[in-house]
Amino acid sequence: MSPGRSSAAPLTPPELTRLGTEVRLAVEQVSYAYSANPAQAPLFTLEATSFQARPGEIVAILGPNASGKSTLLQLIAGVLSPLSGRILLNGFVIHSLTPRNRAQRIAMVQQESRLLFPSRVWEFVLQGRHAHGRPLRFESSNDMQIVQDALVHVGVAHLSDRLMDQISGGEKQRVILARALAQQPLLLLLDEPTLHLDIAAQVGLLDALRRLCARNHYTVIVVTHELNLAAEYADQIILMQSGRCLRVGPPATIYQRELLEQVFQIPLKVEMRGHGRPRVTILSDS
């Protein structure tokens, strides 16, 4: 975390020179339908959804399972193509970018599939640099520095020479985050990052995210179903249910008891605490 961050400064895509642009990510009336068989009715649809996100903002896509959260994230990542509407990152339509250009701007953190030939932690994080520089290349000292910084930021620098299958689940999740940071993106997407983490690890991860957001002005979009974590860390929440976006707004406007009970189908109690962050308590059947 050196002050002279020039070596780790994000490479500036041309559009960022337009400083003062408030909105970084604009999701405009995006819908999607997935059907296994084109002749049949779609198995799943995402109805028109819109929201915007700014640099330094943490957005949480919140909802129960099968609400369309991950689909929306995949659309933002550019992996899926919307049926209607469009998604703009600093004015560029995401889906029309090449995978390489996309990877320079958007980084994804998700559950890692089983590695065929496990690599070392630092090699793994180094993969984040792939989108920058020539396709066939040997990594420069600049790349190595960025990798080192990323490892330090997430707190796994001491594991850099270990093999990926020799570290714990929580450590692995942080290494994956480090790889995403090494991409030096504008947009950081996380799909249920707290799933297999214990509470300390969850808090550690989200604290790190908040720090990084403030420092590097990332825009972070987190898909989660953890009500209280979303309440604590998100600046904006997108509440989803069954493929529909019910409401977009800061936590205070989302965390209303009737609304949440309807979405999550459980009795609960909402308390508004001092610093504007609500807390949800699940009421047991009594």
Partner: protein, 346 residues
């Protein structure tokens, strides 16, 4: 953290090149016809200096016209099969993949057997006639590559699982056709198929063929090497690879075509030499790691070394008779594979 540098890579390749050179010298010395090192050195020097016309000794002629071309063929075939094997293991995300798993060698064999059946009935100029079988084999290989590609397309790109299944089915189907042909067709030429069963480097070709093979190898291997970084990431997982900037669709297509062509080239001239494409990548991974920027060139060199050694043994073990080189690679390769399996790297 020690990143790969160009110098490190060069050094690793240089060691293997030296080993290859020594192996070639040994292979040139040993054979059905014994050659002294002095005579060998003298004649090699003459070849290098362009004075090959001055090689008058019988042994010199043998070296130049029989043994040296055969060694060169072994190098190209070994390198091609190893690079193809490495590529397929990455493409299919399967450590058991070898160059033949997608049916290319069966397609080539079918092309060859059709050529052998047809050959007595065709009038061909002599130089072309010698090339008929390899050419038809290569055509068979490319036809199979195309067929399996279209079989495995889902949503406009190659799907790994479908590719593997489609390739295996195609290989079985083609093999069945070959067995059918060999049992029903009444041609004495089909005895030539024995060549294909085990792989054989004893066929002599015109000079231009060797140049063509070498060019084909460097082009195809070069294309694959350009995707080395992409392959590294692809092995982490397809979804992740896409998010990291790998154009998965393009890389899959390019690697599939290039690796299949490498296999087709090798099999057309030497039959199906087994185990090289499967084991050499694993051995190199054991020594040098899984980074494809190192793995591809070292596998190529390792494959060349392996095949030249195997072919030398094939030539001297029962001299003046010879074994097919595939028999030697099988005898050496199977135990080696079991050993690797137990070390749980395969």
């Amino acid at each position: 953290m020690r990143p790969l540098t160009f110098h490190k890579l060069l050094f690793q390749c240089l060691i293997l090149l030296v080993i290859l050179f020594l192996v070639v010298i040994i292979a040139l010395k040993f054979g059905a016809v014994p050659v002294s090192l002095y005579a060998l050195g003298r004649d090699l020097l003459r070849v290098l200096l362009g004075q090959s016309s001055q090689i008058s000794s019988d042994y010199g002629l043998i070296i130049q016209n029989i043994r040296l071309p055969r060694i060169i063929l072994g190098i190209i075939v070994g390198a091609s099969l190893s690079v193809a094997g490495t590529s397929f293991q990455a493409l299919l995300r399967n450590p058991l993949a070898d160059p033949y798993v997608l049916g290319v060698s069966s397609g080539a064999a079918l092309g060859a057997i059709l050529a052998l059946i047809a050959e007595p009935h065709l009038i061909l100029p002599p130089a072309f006639g010698a090339l008929l079988t390899p050419l038809c084999a290569f055509l068979g290989a490319t036809a199979t590559i195309t067929a399996v590609y279209f079989l495995s397309r889902r949503g406009g790109q190659i799907d790994s699982t479908t590719l593997l299944l489609g390739g295996v089915i195609t290989a079985s189907f083609l093999s069945a056709i070959i067995v059918f042909l060999m049992s029903t067709v009444n041609s004495s030429n089909t005895r030539g198929m024995v060549f294909w069963v085990m792989g054989n480097l004893s066929t002599s070709f015109q000079k231009s063929v060797y140049w063509f093979l070498a060019a084909g190898f460097f082009i195809a291997a070069g294309v694959i090497y350009a995707t080395a970084n992409d392959l590294n990431i692809l092995l982490s997982g397809e979804k992740e690879a896409m998010h990291l900037g790998v154009d998965v669709r393009r890389v899959r297509f390019v690697v599939y075509i290039a690796a299949s062509l490498l296999t087709g080239l090798a099999v057309s001239v030497s039959g199906a030499v087994g185990y090289v494409g499967l084991i050499v990548p694993h051995v190199m991974r054991l020594i040098y790691g899984s980074d494809h920027r190192t793995l591809i060139p070292t596998a190529a060199l390792g494959g060349a070394i392996a095949v030249v050694i195997a072919d030398t043994l094939a030539r001297i073990v029962v001299a003046p008779n010879e074994l097919p080189v595939g028999a030697v690679t099988a005898v050496a390769g199977a135990p080696l594979f079991i050993y690797l399996l137990r070390r749980r790297v395969a």
